[in-house]
């Protein structure tokens, strides 16, 4: 199983739309795919018309009194399942902190029994710096970071890379892509052009800011499913093709890792 997580410290940058569309494309390719909506707001659950509720709440899942398996719901699409959000996820930091051993590895541990059942797991992470996001980073193989083309976003991306590079053992690969890009803005165009050519970790594919993406909340389906021929759907498909085929080689991965110490403080510097 390969675990992808969409993460950004900021909200409203297109994390959920990316998770929903990429998960759909993964399933559409015939991969058995699970999307875990970790955001208590439950936007991904809403987009798949699934009630944002888990019996026993986040507590039962984190403590292990209810298995993830039992909470999973089938979406309307073949090979695509969803683990719904629950409002109690807002307290997930406390729940994770309450677990005895390795509170930063609990989510990875919970996902392990599902390894045989799914080819791809997507984690849609709430925007925050928290124990939840650190858990997600430890669990993920690929950290997908949507960034808005501004100079400030780049700084936070660098900080995130640095933080992840300091992990002991398993480190997720960081892959960034531009989201909500406005081709009419000169600055957007320049930043996208410069950055994607400068850094291997930044995808040359940018997800445009288009109203058809906003329409997802009306259609309650991935744009790649209800409007597969639009520019937005094409962009997600290109991004997914990049993620699945052109994995960066080991040299490039090394280049993006700066030495740093792994700690929650490190994450704090991202703020």
């Amino acid at each position: 199983v390969k675990i992808y997580a969409t993460y950004n410290i900021k909200g409203g940058v297109g994390k959920t739309t990316a998770a929903v569309n990429l998960a759909y494309l993964s399933a559409n390719d015939g991969n058995r795919t699970l999307l875990w909506d970790l955001d208590p707001q439950g936007a991904a659950s809403f987009l798949f018309r699934i009630k944002p509720r888990v019996k026993g709440g986040g507590r039962a899942l984190i403590r292990g009194t209810k298995t993830l398996d039992a909470a999973i719901k089938g979406t309307d699409f073949d090979d695509l399942d969803l683990l719904p959000a629950d409002f109690t996820y807002r307290n997930m930091d406390l729940l994770l902190g309450g677990t005895n051993t390795k509170p930063t590895r609990r989510i990875a541990q919970l996902l392990r029994p599902l390894a045989d059942e799914y080819d791809h797991v997507f984690l849609d992470c709430p925007p925050s710096i928290s124990l939840v996001s650190e858990n997600v980073m430890h669990a993920a193989d690929v950290l997908l970071v949507p960034i808005i083309p501004t100079t400030l976003s780049l700084r936070t991306l660098d900080q995130l890379t640095e933080f992840v590079a300091g992990f002991n053992g398993h480190r997720p690969e960081v892959r960034a892509f531009f989201s909500m890009a406005d081709r009419r803005k000169k600055l957007h165009r320049e930043i996208i052009q410069d950055l994607s050519s400068e850094r291997a970790m930044v995808s040359p594919t940018a997800i445009p800011s288009l109203s058809v993406i906003e329409r997802m909340s009306v259609e309650r389906a991935p744009v790649t499913a209800f409007a597969p021929r639009t520019q937005a759907a094409r962009a997600y498909r290109t991004l997914w093709a990049e993620l699945t085929s052109a994995e960066p080689g080991p040299a490039e991965v090394r280049a993006i890792r700066a030495p740093a110490t792994a700690s929650s403080e490190g994450l704090g510097r991202l703020a």
């Binding site: 089938g74 309307d76 399942d81 309650r220």
Partner: protein, 558 residues
């Protein structure tokens, strides 16, 4: 998609059209399907799902041996037609409450170039897991197409108020085409569960069960399709299975039994002439032997002259089939013999095999010509007519027959007891010094006894019958081994001469044949050594008592 919750079917399929309406089953089916959708509509939104996984049209051909070996082993083999090479799918019947539902998948494999319409031996299948599972089970029989269906699958999503799919209704509309006529089968309905929504699927299944015209599907699609063709699974067996009752007048019982043997014989004619596999001829020969035994042992209750007229005709038929069958037996046994060679290598036998195959082809031609001859057709046609006359003449039940007529039970017990006495006397007289002929004679008596028991099997207590026949079979196997080893050894000598005359006999082959002859001699010695033990078990004091009880009870339960 998901475990299927439960299978249902719509009635209003075959033959259920109102009188006088030549109903296309499809019209009716579509009416019933709208009734089903109406039943689900109050609880669910219903949205047809285009391009859903598993939707579309699929053509399937069920395959089995002529004697239904796969079906009897609880398996179903289908060939799934596809534009570019189909595939074979093996499933096990695991229906609830033992019904023959379409079962769980056991194995599948692609079958490029396979033509399901043409019979083929299992060993000729392309290699794969299906072949591995069934080759031994089916051998030496060929796989034949049983029935072909065409199924159109459509999927409807059942949604909740949020528009979320919480279950699916799968409708399978199938047709079966036979001799140019297409018949619609009852449509099958399945509720497929969506993960995480089990309660909704159960609810949909409940609504479906209560919908008008819907009933649980109890039969497999294959059984349904066969039923439309007025057939049913496992509708061939070479066991006697005649419908005989104890009170039946003896002539009626004998005619019934002979008609049943004639049915089996005729069912195998086509397979013999087309040379589909060796067992058609085998089963045909068994029917002929049984018929001859019945004529010999029971024929005196038939109208005068019948036995005398037909006895020789069936001897002609039996003799006609012998050369081909003998060569079949050699060819079928050859691989096992080759495996046991110690000095020679299996390849040495190839010229022998080729020689046997050539001879077999020649003998088969003669056989097939005779089976197409007017003499054969006349024999079966006239025999049937004569037997039907006997059976039907006595059928209208008069109040108490004027003179006391022998019943089936009386006939069975007296004749069986007589042959059993012969068996015990002849067998009891055999000592270690007895000539082989005395064992050959005993074998014939045992065969007659076995046939008599089988003819009247419905009159006996099944448990006691099984025990008696089981012990008898062991004795027969021993006697068969003893005689067949001798006969085959003698035949190998004759064949070796013939091969030499044809200059078709390399020295290595003759040596290998010699080794086989030695193996046969060894088996014969072994069989001779086993004889007294097997005989004692069947016809010793306990065995005699068992047979007496069996026969007495058949009379007393009249």
């Amino acid at each position: 998609m998901t475990p299927d919750l439960r299978d249902f079917q719509l009635d209003g399929g075959v033959g259920e059209a109102p009188a006088g309406v030549r109903a296309s089953g499809t019209h009716q089916a579509s009416d019933s399907i709208s009734a089903v959708l109406d039943a689900l509509a109050p609880a669910f939104g219903i949205v047809p799902e285009r391009g859903a996984a598993g939707s579309g049209t699929r053509r399937r051909t069920w395959l089995d041996t002529f004697d239904w070996r796969l079906n009897r082993a609880g398996l179903a083999l289908t060939y799934e037609h596809a534009r570019h090479g189909g595939r074979l799918l093996l499933t096990a019947k695991t229906g609830r409450d033992g019904t023959s539902q379409d079962g769980t998948s056991q194995a599948e494999q692609p079958a490029p170039g396979w033509q399901p319409r043409r019979p083929a031996l299992a060993e000729d299948l392309p290699g794969g897991p299906v072949k591995d599972r069934i080759a031994k089970l089916a051998a030496p029989r060929a796989l034949l197409p049983v029935v072909t269906t065409s199924t159109t699958v459509s999927v409807n999503r059942l949604t909740n108020p949020d528009g979320k799919t919480v279950a699916r209704l799968i409708v399978e509309a199938s047709t079966v085409t036979h001799a140019g006529v297409t018949v619609s089968l009852p449509a099958r309905l399945t509720i497929a569960e969506v993960r995480g929504y089990p309660a909704q699927a159960r609810r949909a299944a409940r609504l479906l069960a209560d919908a008008p015209g819907v009933a649980p599907a109890t039969r497999s699609l294959m059984a349904e399709a066969l039923s439309a063709l007025r057939r049913h699974p496992a509708d061939y067996t070479n066991s006697v299975d005649a419908e005989i009752t104890a009170q039946m007048p003896a002539p009626v019982a004998v005619a019934t039994l002979l008609l049943r043997l004639l049915d089996t014989l005729e069912q195998n004619v086509d397979g013999v002439i087309r040379d589909i596999d060796t067992e058609f001829l085998h089963d045909l020969r068994v029917s002929v032997r049984r018929t001859r035994s019945a004529i010999k042992l029971l024929g005196d209750v038939l109208p005068a002259g019948l036995a005398e007229q037909y006895g020789p005709e069936f001897k002609w038929l039996g003799d006609l089939t012998t050369p081909t069958r003998d060569l079949d037996v050699h060819l079928l046994g050859l691989p096992a013999m080759a495996e046991q060679l110690r000095a020679a290598s299996p390849e040495d036998l190839e010229p022998f095999r080729a020689f046997l195959a050539r001879r077999r082809a020649r003998e088969f031609k003669t056989l097939a010509t005779a089976m197409r001859s007017p003499r054969f057709r006349t024999l079966t046609d006239h025999w049937r007519k004569a037997l039907v006359e006997v059976r039907d003449a006595a059928t209208p039940r008069r109040q108490k027959a004027p003179r006391k007529q022998k019943t089936a039970a009386e006939l069975a017990t007296t004749r069986t007891a007589r042959v059993f006495r012969k068996v015990t006397a002849q067998g009891g007289a055999i000592t270690n010094d007895s000539k082989p002929e005395s064992l050959h004679d005993l074998r014939k008596r045992c065969k007659e006894l076995r046939y008599l028991l089988e003819f009247f099997a419905p009159l006996y207590d099944p448990v006691a019958y099984k025990k008696v026949v089981g012990d008898l079979k062991q004795l027969q196997d021993c006697l068969g081994e003893f005689q067949d080893s001798e006969v085959q050894r003698e035949e190998i000598r004759v064949l070796a001469d013939a091969m030499l005359a044809d200059r078709a006999a390399p020295a290595a082959t003759l040596l290998a044949m010699g080794e086989i002859a030695a193996q046969l001699a060894e088996s014969q010695v072994q069989a001779r050594a086993d004889f007294s033990r097997r005989f004692a078990r069947f016809a010793g004091p306990e065995g005699q008592q068992r047979v007496r009880t069996l026969l007495e009870e058949a009379v007393s339960t009249q």
